[in-house]
Symmetry: C2
Subunit: 176 residues, 2 copies
């Protein structure tokens, strides 16, 4: 096991700043390219990260920490951000993500007061019993997954532009 | 063709700041994990990016722009950073990368004065004729490749920690 709460928080607190440095002020060509029909662009990925801050991680963490009779997780809609009517710019979304993430980190730092809590259990709709430390590790790797996704989607835009170098560039040569 | 010089520079100028936001001050556990023997950790990837700033991109760009008789690229050692004796911290390397990248962007902005130059040709040791615009596009996608690599290497560290979520996390389910 590599999980340590302090190291996990190091990543969680950096992600919005990493994405801010990467995406703030970027051209629409980069922000709105995707990998084809039904795939997400960078803007939509940030929308998904915001939804997850609001309705996934903290509600699930609280469900485990409350330790009531029902430890089933509340539902999370992975596609909710695609159906929102309010239009925000990517820069506004990045600021919202920063604020929400900082609040959520601060909240879990208040709620988790003992190492023993990491072994407490919740009920995942598909997997059954999962531990708090698995959920927290997943939050971290979920950040990695979506940073990686944004970078991959943007690289795809230059697939033919790199000419013969395509075969040397790892990011253009992996399965989706 | 999606290549545009201004959009390429947007990425090139952001990469050191993105990696700075992601890696500055991070624990050794994250900075020095890798994917097994012979693979690079985040620290080594930054070393490689610094080498490429010094001995790959600009020397190759200059070779094309000089348009002399010999348009063969000077050699580039992808593994040079593994044999350096001077020991710098990752934070120092990130600062060095920022400085070198800013200087190199400034240099190419001075050297490239006409759209026609993007079609000029150099001789790649393996591929033969390549165009300046292909080299510049490759510089951008090379950044994407290595950001993606760092994120993937770090995600790998939590592969078992995420428990059953492993199957949902794209970054843990793609070929290397």
């Amino acid at each position: 096991m590599n999980f340590r709460i302090n190291e996990s928080i190091e990543i969680l607190e950096r992600t919005p700043h990493t994405l801010g440095a990467f995406l703030t002020g970027l051209s629409n060509g980069w922000l709105h390219c995707n990998e084809g029909q039904g795939t997400w662009n960078a803007d939509e990925v940030i929308g998904h990260l915001i939804d997850a801050e609001k309705t996934n991680w903290v509600p699930r963490i609280k469900t485990i920490l409350d330790q009531g009779e029902d430890t089933s997780f509340p539902p999370f809609d992975r596609f909710a951000h695609l159906n929102q009517s309010e239009e925000k710019t990517v820069d506004q979304k990045l600021e919202e993500f920063k604020t929400l993430r900082a609040e959520n980190i601060s909240l879990i730092q208040r709620l988790i007061v003992s190492e023993q809590q990491f072994e407490w259990i919740g009920n995942h709709p598909a997997f059954g019993e999962v531990k708090l430390r698995e959920l927290l590790s997943t939050w971290v790797v979920h950040d990695f997954t979506h940073i990686s996704q944004i970078v991959r989607v943007m690289a795809e835009r230059y697939r033919t532009d790199v000419g013969p170098w395509q075969e040397y560039l790892g990011i253009l040569n992996r399965s989706k």
